[in-house]
Amino acid sequence: MLGLSGCATGIVIIVLALILGYILVNGISYLNIDIITQAAKPVGEIGGGMRDEIFGTLILVVLASIIALPIGLLTGIFVSEYAGPKIASAVRFAADILAGVPSIVVGVFAYAVLVRPMHSYSALSAGVALAIIMIPVVARTAEEALRLVPNSQREAALALGINRWRAIAGVILPGAITGIVTGIMLAVARVAGETAPLIFTALGSAFGVQGLNQPIGALPLQIYRYALSPYRDWQQQAWAAAFLLVILVLGINVIVRWVSRRRSR
């Protein structure tokens, strides 16, 4: 039985190696500079790239961060610094439940709240959908990081006679900044690869980035479209784009974990 548990771990790592291996091999063999520098070509024309989609993903991630960071961060501060135990666990529970809402349902929500009233698919609605996915992640990690700040620091700050919000902003928050940044980066990595809520909010765009109230392309969305397309050229571009996305997402994950582990030693 003990051997079997080792085998189980082995299987999982082999599966991971298989997935990454295929993406690496296929991705690198189809990768060329056009993917980054060229816009998508219309159906039937060979070539083209994903310049606009890469740019679109950047815009969406920034937009989502602008919306989600204040909400997530201040929620984390509220739970860790102000709320009593009962309210804290209620808010924590709400955050966990929000984190468990399927991303496709979040997409439907963003569609109902923004796309329908505005009568247009838009970058803004996609940003809001991604923000809703980010908020609970940021809130929970921020709260956990804040709680790790030793209480003596809180008391020391307050003993100096400064008031509470300045103690939080000037002493407690800087003390937890590594953990908070870790959480933010992991949330960014998560939404950068998120596809389901974008299908009917961002929609994708054949005309590049036109504005926040217009449809916009995104890298994961384009991977989905191209993978399902019958054109060999597009499928190859999907592999190359998948390679870029994996490098981005896993890169963020590896760096963040490496840095936070070094700091915590």
Binding site: M1, L2, S5, G6, C7, A8, T9, I11, V12, I13, L18, I19, Y22, P70, I71, L74, T75, F78, Y82, F93, D96, I97, L98, G100, V101, P102, S103, I104, G107, V108, F109, Y111, A112, V113, R116, I132, P136, A139, R147, R154, E155, L158, G161, I162, N163, W165, A167, T195, A196, I199, F200, I223, A227, A238, W239, L245, V246, V249, L250, R257
Partner: protein, 327 residues
């Protein structure tokens, strides 16, 4: 899970504000209210989600009533919609996923928390976390071009010829279908079940293990008789948490399940899940009833995952908080 003493315990809130006079108190009030408002905003999003989905699904709810769940037709032309095949597909693919994922994940968790030395368990945990970080659409891409052909030709052919007398393994091997979707889901939920059950196992007090070993138990008996029973509810919570993830998983499943509105016992046949139905049709739907039906599907999915997640959270919380009260 340290129980931190809030500054309130040292100085009751409001008392020490006086020290800095009126200005400080105003700053504090503003900051406190700011955090409160944003916290309420997050809770409001959750509540708003439920309300908005209900409003948008209302035309369909009104039209079909309870028969929406039991009807098997999906006919946009005549505007007759039923959710049964999608609900069935969601449950079936998640069940297959769990059947594969649970033994593997528990094996991993036992290995990582009980057996592996530090130098081995650390990189292994890290790699499993990396598997969780790969975006769903990329797992789907891999599933479409690597897994599905593999499932079609050796796996389903072999299952069909050896176990073909069972209704699950009959029919032509398409490759895309419930079996592929289940395997993809297994890959996607293994990291979460492993991580949570590892944490739950690590929360079992060391005294339990030592007592068992002191009685002369082998390592396996110690795990089987002391560790696993002690954290059983936490492990169930971990599995249900994985179930919640599997039910709502969208992209990877949409890409390998084949999207046919089918209600069959055969695991080889293409099917559909709630999430894949919504993902593949929502942007092309028109008319209140059609869109309403898709939103109602999303609402059903939301309801199921909400229930599953609440149960899982309660179980996991109870299991991991045992440590803090026990010590």
């Amino acid at each position: 899970m340290m129980n931190t003493i809030k500054p309130d315990a040292v100085l009751p809130a409001g008392k020490w504000d006086v020290a800095e006079g009126r200005r400080g108190r105003i700053g504090d009030k503003i900051f406190f209210n700011l955090t409160l408002i944003f916290t309420l905003l997050m809770v409001l999003i959750l509540v708003g989600l439920i309300i908005i989905l209900n409003i948008d699904a209302w035309p369909a709810i009104q039209r079909f009533g309870i028969s929406f769940i039991s009807s098997i037709s999906w006919d946009p032309v005549n505007e007759i919609f039923g959710a049964l095949p999608a609900v069935y597909g969601t449950l079936l693919s998640s069940l297959i996923g769990l059947l594969i994922a649970v033994p593997i994940s528990l094996g991993c968790a036992i290995f990582l928390s009980e057996l592996a030395p530090e130098w081995l368990s650390r990189p292994c945990s890290f790699l499993i976390e990396m598997l969780a970080a790969i975006p769903s659409v990329i797992i789907g891409l891999w599933g479409m071009f690597v897994l599905v052909p593999f499932i079609r030709s050796p796996v389903e052919k072999w299952l069909g010829s050896t176990l073909g007398f069972l209704p699950f393994f009959q029919g032509p091997p398409f490759g895309v279908g419930f079996l592929s979707a289940g395997i993809i889901l297994a890959i996607m939920v293994i990291p979460i079940i492993t991580a949570v059950s590892r944490d739950v196992m690590c929360a079992v007090p060391i005294t339990q293990r030592e007592a068992m070993l002191a009685l002369g138990a082998t390592k396996w008996e110690m795990i089987n008789r002391a560790v696993l029973p002690y954290c059983r509810s936490g492990l169930v919570g971990a599995i249900i948490l994985g179930l919640g993830r599997a039910l709502g998983e969208t992209m990877a499943v949409t890409m390998v399940i084949g999207n046919a509105y089918n209600l069959t016992a055969s695991l080889f046949s293409p099917g559909v899940t709630i999430a894949s139905k919504v993902a593949s049709e929502f942007s092309e739907a028109s008319g209140d009833i059609y869109i309403g039906s898709l939103v109602e599907l999303a609402l059903v999915l939301f309801g199921i995952t909400l229930l599953v997640n609440i149960i899982a959270r309660l179980l996991v919380w109870r299991a991991t908080s045992v440590r803090t009260t026990g010590e």
